[in-house]
Structure formats: C-alpha cells, structure tokens
C-alpha cells in the first residue's frame, strides 16, 4: 500500500502534535479548509481554492486518485451542440427537470447547464482526451432521455480520464492531500462545524482535523443495497450520514436510481454481481431482448425504446424477469452485435475488453443484464450558489448532495454536477477569510475524546460481524425498498432495521448512523 504523501511542503500539518490527556492518543491536523472526498467534486473544489490562494487539505478513504469517480464510464453532459447545433443549456435544463419529475432545484439545474460548456473546454485545456469529431470538436453521443446528442466522452472511461486530469491539475497547484483516512464524525455542536474526527486506515491511529470550513464531497449511498454498481466500501452513505449527524438537513433520500443494466452474477460470477454495463452501450445502439427473443421495449416505450428514462427501462426489465420472460440466470439480453467490431472497439473499449476477458465477444453475442442500485439522488440539502448547508462552516458538493437530479437523474449529469458545482463552492469559499481560527471549545474537545474512546473500544471486541449486518441490511432494502415498493413491506423492514440498529449501537456508540 502506498504511504501517506503530501505534495510540496505541507504547511497544514502541524508537526504531529499529539494529545494523550484522555488516555487515547491522537494527532491534530490544522487546515483552513478540509475537503472530505477526493473524487471529481472534491478535486474540483480544491482546485478553485488553490487557484485563489487558499491551500485546502483533501482526504479520501483510498489511495489518492482512486475514488469512486474513476468508475464513471459513459460520459458527461454539456450543451455544446457539436452534433446537434439546436441544443442549448435551457433545453439541457428542461430535459433534467423532466427526468427529475420537477422535484429538482431549478436554479441549481440552470446553473449547472449554463456553465457546463465552459467546464468541458477547461477540462480539454487541462488535458482530458475527449473523443473528437472529424472537424476536431468534442464528440457527443446519445444518452437516455436526452433530446440531443449531448454526452461528451473519453471512450467508456470518462470518469477515470477526468479524474486523472483534475488530480494532475491539483498537483500542479500543490494541493496537499492525505490518503487512506476515514472520517467517522464531524466536530459539530449542531449549529457550527469545527473540523472532523477519523483514523488513518494504514495504522489505525486517530486524527483530529481542525478546519475553518469543512466541505463534504464523500459521495452517495447506493451501495447500501445488496446489488449495486459501486465498489463495496464506496457510496455507502458516509457523506449524508456525517452531515445528518452534524445537524444538517437531508433531502430526497427516498430516491435511489436503479440502473437498468448491471451484470448478472449467475452468468459471470459473484464478483461481477451488479457491475455496470454502461448506458453508452444502449446510447450507441444496443438493444434489449427477453428470453423469448422479443425486443420488449417496443411494448413499454415505442418512441424512446431502450433510451427511455432509466426508471422506465429498469422497471420494464424487472417486470419481464418477474413475469417469467427473463433468462435462466435472472436477466435479459443486451445486444450490440449489429454494430461493426471496429466501432465497438473505438466507442466502448472497456466493455469490449471486460467481456472479452470473460470469454464473451460483444461484437458477436449478447450479454445478460438486470437492474442494479446505482446512484443516490437524495443527500445533503445545500444552497447552490455557495454549497452551504444549514450548519455554519459545513459545505457539501457532488453526489453527497440532493437537488440537481430530483426524482431521477439523467445519465451524464452527475459528472457534470461535480465539476460545475465544485468550482462554485471553491470560488465561494476562497472569498472567505480563514486567517484566525477560534480555539476549539471545551465541549468539542470532550466530544473528540469520547469519540476516540468509543472507536478504540470498538476496534477490539464485539459480538456482531459488521459484514453480516450490512449484508442483511442490503438484502432488506433490496427486497422491500427497491425498484418496487409497498407500504406494508416498508413498515416491516423498518422494524427489522431498528433491531439491527440496536444491535449495532451497543457496539458503535457515537458513530455516524445511516439515516
């Protein structure tokens, strides 16, 4: 495992000051702005801060550069009009509101769609190798429920390419970072935030971060479901849980996007359960068939077919499977073999290679897919001009927040949200002064010591196995609060969750609890 590094001289770590008056040792780290999360949203926020002379500290749960964002494949939306000149930010906003069933924050949406063309040009300037048209413009492909070709892409590894660019830019600016750190609590009195508590995942040592402002960019909560498209220890709700615990309001938590096409474990093996087959496969012409060979979307959506909204396509697939027209392995077929091999290799290189490794030739045969929990529309409620939450000095950005996507999200809009709002939040924060930070109130010092003592006690013993509890929770959510829901089932599952939570609380007092 890579050791902790910092770029440049790292003025924010105050020399390993440690405190042991509580019996539990911890290191104190000071920074004007603590950015929790090193995905696209955290990285873009940090870039704006650094460009404006504020040196934030960026932390993440994994090695630097390896955030959930790297899994984003299909693309990022901006009304550039490379292919369809008629497109505009206003139409992009209208498509977003339609998909969100008018629960989105319209001003926030318009902000994102307005600035996206500039954010794409900026990424291009910083070196993101977007696929280009013959004329040299940024190429754009179809994505579900969008009126025009609007999704810019780097093959089918857009997120990875984008994050490489952003991390490269942050390194140029010498943004300090610290990797493999897990934050477990924010220092908050419910009105104001003073920093965060956590531990170093390499050696288990405790860390107290004191900050003038904390930006939560810690991702979403779709991985609490059993079958999901994220890595297991990402997107498990840390961001919203930390914010809720600190006194911030959450919004739209009931909205979880199920992506129509996740891989089927029975066919490809357990490690591929729920893994995403990017929407770009359908955007480039991929078709869905049931086990009877019927192109069933003709029945559900004759006009938009496979590219109708994700919830429509996911429910259609779920229904085909439930009504006995699924494959033996519990999926349906997705087929793009009518396209030329060279086209597939160029537009969908990662998918092509992944299936080739599994002995499946995308250019000759279909793959088996079923819906998978993918994205959380809900999260922390923020002000879209600043990123402010209702708690002083606490900001949030990226998938951790709610409001841009409403009741459902357009594919390609979340990468857009991360860079569009990251810049806005960073620019806003850079206008604040962080010259003098007040001393940490005694109540917060006590909170820190108690929390570290709890963590310490938790590290050793316990009767429950966390993986088992999480597994049970994931199954319960899946079967009762999944694609299809009903009041009775939800009430039953809440009772069961309360039992799980009670069992857990005896092990983990003070830890962030998923709401």
């Amino acid at each position: 495992m890579t050791s902790n590094r910092s770029i440049g001289d790292n003025p924010t770590v105050d020399g390993g000051d440690s405190d042991s008056d509580s019996g539990v040792e911890y290191e104190t780290v000071e920074t004007p702005v603590l950015v929790i999360g090193a995905g696209a949203a955290g990285a873009r926020t940090a870039i704006s801060l650094a460009e404006n002379g504020v040196s934030p500290l960026v932390i993440g749960k994994r090695d630097h550069g390896d955030a959930h964002t790297t899994w984003a494949a299909g693309g990022i939306n901006a009304a550039l009009g490379s292919r369809d000149p008629e497109d505009s930010p206003a139409i992009h906003a209208a498509d977003t509101l339609n998909e969100g069933h008018m629960l989105n924050d319209p001003a926030g949406v318009e902000t994102v769609t307005e600035v996206m063309p500039d954010r794409i040009r900026e990424l291009e300037d910083w070196g993101t190798p977007f696929n280009a048209t013959d004329e040299g413009a940024v190429e754009q492909r179809y994505f579900g429920a969008q009126s025009f070709r609007r999704t810019c892409f780097v093959g089918d590894r857009t997120g990875e390419a984008m994050l490489e660019t952003l991390i490269g830019r942050a390194q140029e600016l010498e943004v300090p970072y610290r990797e493999n750190v897990q934050v477990t609590k924010l220092l908050s009195d419910g009105e104001r935030v003073y920093g965060a508590l956590g531990y170093d995942m390499n050696d288990g040592s405790f860390l107290l971060f004191r900050a003038g402002a904390v930006v939560l960019a810690a991702g979403g909560y779709s991985a609490v479901y059993d079958r999901h498209s994220s890595r297991d220890e990402e997107n498990n709700g840390d961001g919203p849980a930390l914010a809720y615990d600190a006194g911030a309001r959450l919004m739209d938590a009931e909205f979880v996007q199920f992506h129509p096409t996740g891989m089927v474990a029975e066919r490809y093996g357990e490690r591929w359960e729920g893994r995403l087959v990017t929407e770009a496969v359908r955007g480039e012409g991929g078709r869905l068939f049931n086990a009877d060979g019927e192109r069933f979307m003709e029945r559900y959506s004759p006009e938009q077919m496979e590219l109708d909204a994700r919830d429509v396509v996911a429910r259609a697939i779920a229904r085909e499977i439930a009504e006995g027209r699924g494959t033996e392995n519990g999926g349906v077929y997705l087929d793009i073999s009518h396209r030329d091999r060279s086209f597939i290799e160029e537009r969908l290189p990662s998918m092509y290679a992944r299936f080739a490794d599994l002995g499946v030739d995308l250019a000759a045969e279909s793959v088996e897919v079923a819906p998978t929990a993918h994205y959380s529309m809900g999260g922390v409620e923020i002000d879209f001009e600043t990123g402010k939450t209702g708690v002083e000095n606490l900001y949030a950005v990226g998938e951790t927040t709610a409001g841009i996507h409403g009741a459902n999200r357009l594919g390609g809009n979340s990468l857009a949200e991360t860079v569009a709002l990251g810049k806005i939040v960073g620019d806003h924060l850079a206008e604040r002064s962080f010259a003098d930070r007040p001393v940490l109130p005694a109540s917060q010092q006590r909170l820190a010591r108690e929390h570290f003592a709890d963590l310490d006690a938790m590290a050793g013993e316990g009767s429950e196995v966390p993986e088992e509890l999480l597994g049970e929770l994931g199954d319960l959510l899946e079967s009762h609060a999944g694609i299809l829901r009903a009041e009775k089932a939800v009430v039953r599952v809440r009772g069961r969750c309360r039992l799980l939570a009670d069992g857990r609380r005896s092990r983990a007092p003070g830890g962030p609890r998923a709401p």
Partner: protein, 70 residues
C-alpha cells in the same frame, strides 16, 4: 430512506409504489430529513419554479427521437 419510501404515497421517477402507481400533484414536494431531539423529523417543501427560458423549453416538448439511431 425507508421513512421516505413509506411517506411518499405516490410513484414518481425512481420511486415506484405498487400501492400508488401514479404521481400525485400533492406530492410535488421534497421530503426533508432532520435530526431532532427525539429522533428523525420529516418535513416537506415545494420546489421553486424554473426560469421563463427553461419553462419555454419545457413547453416546447423536446424529447429524444430514438429512430435517428436505427
């Protein structure tokens, strides 16, 4: 998530209730979740209206024409 899934007695976007299959105008609202003295408190708010320009784009009824892909 479960509280919200129960509270929202309609179907909208990614939230589908088999006992309330249609969207309800009454639920053109966001659910807010806040920690309170005795547990979680749920409230609602109505989203703002879009700008005139975006409203025009909504009224124009743009949508994806799949058959261009064929």
């Amino acid at each position: 998530m479960l509280r919200g899934a129960r509270e929202r007695r309609e179907s909208r976007g990614a939230h589908f209730r088999t006992d309330f299959e249609d969207a309800s105008e009454e639920w053109h609202r966001n659910l807010l979740y806040e920690r309170s003295f005795d547990g979680m408190e749920l409230t609602t708010k109505t989203p703002d209206e879009p700008s005139a320009e975006v409203q025009d784009a909504l009224d124009a009824g743009y949508e994806l024409d799949y058959h261009q892909l064929e």
